[in-house]
């Protein structure tokens, strides 16, 4: 590729940094930067200033600009207004009705229209559900219930504890629990939030009322209202309280502190637990009560009384979770953890896209064996950048090889396009390889006796779907690269004779191809480069194709399930 014979201008560097240069011009600037310390240093200065701008947005504009003066509107009501305004049926019908003009019909129509307008006005002008009003009602509702301590589970990024709410102190079962509870108490005290009874509308209301500035949001979820309050004037910068719809009982809470610590509190269903003689609670291992979305508790039953606990989650329940995630495409590399622990299947993740969270909640939220738990405490894991970084010095031998391959495919531009295409295929393939390995880890052959025939079929179907896509991607990569690699190496790779393989071997084979592709196309520094790279890649692709064809192939009996 040609390099610039002059230093790039400032505006070219900015366009380059912003990805706004055409591919060829970007390539020339990139090549120049590899050779020129001066310009590389200039680019770094530019990036530093861009970083300053980003920090300015985050550290100055976001926290210090005035907050919106009112709660945000319920946008759905706005949609409703638009829907009503653009509804053609009413007016069409009205015009038909008025077509044969007669005086008495006009009068009737006018009255009807007036009544309709009044009704519409009343409907649209209804005030939004306000956080303060909702909390006030929840406090009043709590006052009408028997005042009994409730057992709650407290989760933080590092601890999982249980205690009794509504009492002055809480004992713990170990010194570590005592320390954890003490440090949590300190956090809540600093935020002026009642630690004695944190899962209550009254405590939430008291905290909220003393805030100098605050923003509320009230949303309706299936079977519940959720109040979320954010503020800049407290150590506790955001809190949300979920109130069960029928009786406004608080069932869940989440607290986010200024130091990025978070705490989640949920009510636990355990009727047998009573406070100690001194009124304190005990740390234990009871499971949190699954949030009941539709069941309205009988008025005579105290709020801590819960429906009977469901049976502990089985491996079949775990499989159903995987099947649900698979159905919404959430088993392909998103940072979602699935663990079966304490009689429940816990589905968790950090930094997930809110839309995906919602989908997962919708898919699993009503399963009594599943606890869905997400956290924002860390930023999402960045996917590796597949573009060739300008800082990455490309090995001269590799560059020479790339030039030869580029000649084979019709030039550098076509080669770059091919690289992007193959790396995308490789990403896609690896997502399937990871998914298959994960299934193998969660459902090893020895565990399959715990699955029903229907579950086994389901597991097999998921495996086959992943395997089929992986097979196709491997074939696509092979088709795109083989002619070029054969022409460079001069010898086609020998076909692999693999009749049977398992998920782990298939994964390792795919991983090997992925690594070699990354080296070949220069997306990772090429320390491990040697002139056998094309031959190794060709051989790796051949092995991968053979394994992908052999994977899950029944050999002994139809009942035997291969990993």
């Amino acid at each position: 590729m040609k390099t610039l014979t002059r230093h790039p201008e400032d505006h070219e560097l900015l366009l380059y940094a912003d990805g706004e240069l055409p591919v060829r011009a970007a390539g020339r600037v990139r090549s120049h930067l590899e050779a020129c310390w001066n310009c590389r240093s200039g680019l770094e200065e530019l990036e530093t200033t861009i970083g300053d701008c980003v920090r300015y947005r985050k550290d100055v504009l976001q926290p210090f600009l005035p907050s919106p003066p009112a709660p945000w509107m319920d946008i759905y009501q706005g949609f409703q207004r638009i829907d009503a305004a653009t509804e053609p049926g009413i007016f069409t019908r009205l015009s038909k009705f008025l077509a044969p003009v007669k005086a008495h019909r006009w009068a009737t129509a006018a009255v009807a229209l007036l009544a309709f307008t009044a009704l519409l006005y009343r409907f649209l002008e209804t005030p939004d559900v306000q956080a303060a009003e909702l909390l006030q009602k929840a406090v009043a509702a709590a006052g009408s219930r028997p005042d009994k301590p409730r057992r709650i589970e407290i989760r933080t990024s590092q601890h999982r504890l249980t205690r009794i709410a509504g009492v002055r102190s809480a004992a713990a079962s170990s010194a570590a629990d005592v320390d954890a509870l003490n440090s949590l108490q300190a956090l809540f005290v600093a935020a002026k939030y009642d630690w004695d009874d944190p899962l209550s509308a009254r405590s939430y209301q008291a905290w909220r009322n003393q805030l100098a500035d605050k923003r509320d949001e009230v949303t309706q979820e299936p079977g519940a209202y959720r109040v979320r309050t954010t503020t800049g004037s407290s150590e506790l910068v955001a809190a949300s309280l979920t109130l069960r719809t029928p009786d406004l009982t608080p069932v869940q809470e989440r607290f986010e502190f200024r130091d990025r610590e978070w705490v989640e509190i949920a009510e636990i269903a355990d009727v047998s637990v009573a406070p100690n003689a001194d009124g304190s609670g005990v740390a234990g291992s009871a499971s949190p009560r699954k949030f009941e979305t539709n069941a309205a508790p009988p008025a005579s039953v105290p709020s801590m009384s819960a429906p009977a606990m469901p049976a502990p989650a089985s491996i079949g329940d775990e499989l159903h979770v995987f099947a649900s995630l698979h159905q919404i495409g959430a088993d392909l590399g998103d940072p979602i953890e699935v663990t079966r622990t304490g009689g429940t299947v816990v589905v968790g993740g950090v930094g997930l896209d809110p839309h995906l969270r919602q989908e997962i909640n919708d898919a699993l939220g009503n399963d009594p064996h599943v606890t869905v738990r997400f956290s924002d405490s860390s930023p999402p894991v960045a996917r590796p950048d597949r573009s060739v970084a300008p800082e990455t010095a490309v090995n001269p031998d590799l560059r020479q090889l790339q030039a030869r391959m580029a000649d084979q495919v019709g030039g550098r531009v076509r080669f770059d396009e091919l690289a992007a295409q193959v790396l995308d295929l490789s990403d896609n393939m690896m997502a399937r390889a990871y998914a298959l390995r994960r299934l193998a880890e969660h459902f090893p052959p020895e565990s399959e006796s715990g699955l029903s025939p229907a579950d086994l079929d389901q597991l097999q179907r998921i495996r086959q779907e992943h395997a089929a896509v992986l097979r196709q991607r491997a074939a696509d990569i092979d088709r795109l690269l083989r002619p070029m690699l054969v022409s460079v190496t001069g010898t086609p790779a020998k076909p692999s004779a693999i009749s049977q393989t398992n998920a782990e071997d298939l994964f390792q084979s795919a991983r090997q191809v992925e690594k070699l592709l990354a080296m070949m196309f220069g997306t990772v520094p090429g320390e491990a480069w040697d002139d056998r790279l094309p031959a190794r890649l060709l051989s790796g692709i051949t092995d991968l194709r053979a394994r992908s064809e052999a994977f899950d192939r029944p050999t002994v009996s139809p009942d035997r399930r291969d990993r």
């Binding site: 005035p66 919106p68 009112a70 638009i82 829907d83 653009t86 909702l134 839309h355």
Partner: protein, 182 residues
Amino acid sequence: MSSFSLGKELAGTVRKDGAATLQDEVAQLFVEARDDVYRYLLSLGLYPPQAQEGAQEVFLRLYATLKKGEKIQNPRAWIFRVAHNHGLKIRSRQTSQGPFDAELELRIASSEMNPEQNVLEREQNLRFHKAVHGLSEQQQRCLFLRLEGLRYPEIASALGISASAVGEFLRRAIARLKRGEL
């Protein structure tokens, strides 16, 4: 009927609607981007109540547009383009421009408002803010829209200028900020 219970009914009615998907998508975007749009409108010189109202209006327009079946390639860019035009229209009706900067400087400099920052950080923030304030209006707009993730052609479309002009405004802005010019 209390507003609370009626609100509950309203929400239930809306969410049971069969065509809820589009509403949910726009509502999701509303939750994600409304604060960014609100801040952008403040930066145009709107007062907070007008900026909030304007931000809400933009998302309702998005819904109405999508409902009509129009295709929008990049909704976020569309939102900022509409917000920009809508914001300028609102601003032209205001008798004076909103105090985007005066109070902000006090807040940045206040140790009470940001006790976790040390004196040096506060001074740096204030200096950078003054440098941003010293940029021309077009430079500021290009910079703010770029910070919201818009590409050059999208900024160009929002501001009614060419993409190369956007590049030039940004280059000048970055050069001034790099030199720390006030």
